[in-house]
Subunit: 300 residues, 2 copies
Amino acid sequence: MSDDKAGASPAAAYLAIDWGTTNRRVYVMAADGSVLATARDDRGIKSVEAGCWADELAGIRARFGDLPAIAAGMVGSTRGWREIPYVIAPAGVTELATGIGRIPEERFFIVPGVAYDTPDHADVMRGEEVQAVGACLSGLAPHDALFCQPGTHNKWIGLKDARITSVTTALTGELFALLRDHSILAEMMTGPVEDGPAFRAGIADAAGGDLLSRLFGVRASVLLGRRAREDGAAYTSGLLIGADVAAREVAGRLVHILSDPNLGPLYAVAIEAFGGTSTAIDGQAAFVAGIHHIWSMIDD
Amino acid sequence: MSDDKAGASPAAAYLAIDWGTTNRRVYVMAADGSVLATARDDRGIKSVEAGCWADELAGIRARFGDLPAIAAGMVGSTRGWREIPYVIAPAGVTELATGIGRIPEERFFIVPGVAYDTPDHADVMRGEEVQAVGACLSGLAPHDALFCQPGTHNKWIGLKDARITSVTTALTGELFALLRDHSILAEMMTGPVEDGPAFRAGIADAAGGDLLSRLFGVRASVLLGRRAREDGAAYTSGLLIGADVAAREVAGRLVHILSDPNLGPLYAVAIEAFGGTSTAIDGQAAFVAGIHHIWSMIDD
């Protein structure tokens, strides 16, 4: 794929946009679902001021071609262009297409997010549903699969028959950032976050289930000379990712990790530590497959 | 007790200072261990600049009397006047007196903190040890007791034969503040923190052990209209205090809560929810009893 040159390609049929909070990726799509060009930038929804969405879209079209567009992600949230109601799990490509949000005068479509709403657990997502469904429908993963999408808000998505049946979001990444940036542990968290003995010690300690005291233990262990200060960040990462994975009952299961070059390998280590196996899925390929399925099912 | 008037009392023998990070309380003590006067201010150690400790003490003496002084708390940490090495648990009043830090030219003594250091768990405290030991020795609690001191860093202190045998610190209070002040949950945490259905729902959800996803659930539940936004802070408090208490195996046990007018009652509710009972202990009385025992055992 090359950047930014196929907007005028004769085969270009529509634009697909993965529009998150911080970043955005635009794909120029052919009618058969192949990608003619793609480019990523930092124009996530928090970079777009209220009232400026049509201008923003005009800028995308000036660059990639004057085509109808379909977007998924936080662009459909209260903080995005227009709030599109969640579809309720279980939900597959049919529900996502039926629940599509439309801004006809702009030839713009927004994929709804998915909510999981049972008496025991409430959860929501916007954007990840396209990747998970797309991975199943394109053969990147089986129709019954468990996905993990590492990130600030780590997502666990269960599918049966290529339909989303469960959603669990963990505050793992955000909590790590809060502790590193604002907590009493900050001075112990300046080292690298990487796989190694400290990260694995964190995973092992997470198995005990007492996260709140293990976090203070980051400080106590350094003060008592039991752990090197430069290992604090890796240990804390192991503790948090370990606590996240420990709660998912991955033993004996295969987890499909939607690609993240930094966090994906760390989650793979933790999944293995708790008796599971994992495989990496190309998140862009999954998104393209999912968004094209949805596009093909809506009347534009 | 009255403020600030007994510095010149003929019976005054020494000053006892509970000197924490943010606040400080000074007691004017008689030789028999009774309190002649006490006052609290916000001159915690973070208010004292390096090199100004002798001046700070001179100010205390100008106000309360020119007496020898003994202090406990963060004043003995790396960030305090002088770092006093921790004594290692098990430790009682004998070890605390033996490990006393001395600044003879200032007629100033600093109680050491206590470290708990086993292969499975490392922990430290400075200040709380005086209250726990004092409560046992003065009859406020039995010699075998479990204490909880709610706070930013919540302490659980186990004693046998009036000696500290275990220390567990949980980051409960600090994590609550981080989430309220800096996280994506902040907008859902502007309501009151108080006992009620939302707080108790948080405790109940904490029993499931999946804190990281329950925290994101604070947001999802509000977005899905399942919980009122103004209940978010109370629910999150219940979740965190519940997770803390759930890890302590309080079922069938009596927990002695060192008094905290805000957090103490909330911990009492959580302890009961997990099958324990609790009783409130006067933290000032416990401190006075403990510090006087230590004072009586050192050569000044």
